[in-house]
Subunit: 151 residues, 2 copies
Amino acid sequence: MLSMKAKYALKALGYLARKPDTRFGIERIAEAENIPYKFLEAILTELRKSNVIDSKRGAAGGVKLARAPKDISIGDVIRLMDGPIALLPCASITRYRACDDCPDEAACRLRQVMIDARLAIADVLDERTLADLASRSPLPSERRLTDDDLG
Amino acid sequence: MLSMKAKYALKALGYLARKPDTRFGIERIAEAENIPYKFLEAILTELRKSNVIDSKRGAAGGVKLARAPKDISIGDVIRLMDGPIALLPCASITRYRACDDCPDEAACRLRQVMIDARLAIADVLDERTLADLASRSPLPSERRLTDDDLG
DNA sequence: CATAATTCCTACTTATCCTATAGGAATAAA
DNA sequence: TTTATTCCTATAGGATAAGTAGGAATTATG
Ligand code: FES
Ligand code: FES
């Protein structure tokens, strides 16, 4: 399960993705997406430090995406908030760590299963981006490339 | 990430799956798989209560699988130990729960992505079983059906 | 310049979960 | 009766989750 932090981050970024060039105040986002204000503030600070959003202080300040929605993958947001997507450290590609308890990693069958699982889920999460979260209903113009390729 | 509990459970069950009809002492499993003894004991108690293993007390006691290895999926073990596999409660099939903060679930784009992710990962974890964890190296006789189908 | 709006920073809290560990009771085999 | 083993209850320290509070710094605007 994702943490609330990751979920709120995705919802807030999805909100921003609907008007990528407009700056929105945190309070407005919090209200629109039902996110506790102070909590969202902390989350957005983290996203700013990771260069996902760009913020501006003072009156008429606010936040907006630092890049185009389609260039921010859902997988990356989750990794920033919750850490690796893989189910075991030894199955993570972006943040691999050996398992203390497995003497022979190459022979570990559990690892193989978990690598397969991690590939399957990362396939989905790294292909989808904030652009996919932006619209309310799936419009033809918003379909992903792979769909267009078939036509 | 899986908890240590889930990981240990899978390793211990994988150990038992190598000789499904033999009873093994907990201490022996703990040593073989580098799992803290008392922790493993607690884990196995839970697995017994869920009818995954069958145990026997006293001298020459021990534990063994309650069913054939191929009838215990990895996904089920993870669900027992760590809860739902889905990344959001609203995307879980086995343990669905509505999201408090989303006013309109049907219009929620995040949910759609997470349902796709959950399908992708459950596809892997529910198809693989303890039988896949049983052997040290992938022998031809142990290949999964999908592989054989190609031949 | 004064004011209002807004993000930024530091610190704190409260509850829950994770990862175990300890000690002994119950059971069964030899 | 002894020994080996699981079963049960209780505990515990540390980390993480999910916020909350208060004020400092910055900026637009009149
Ligand atoms: S190497 Fe990670 S589970 Fe075996
Ligand atoms: S309904 Fe669950 S995230 Fe929107």
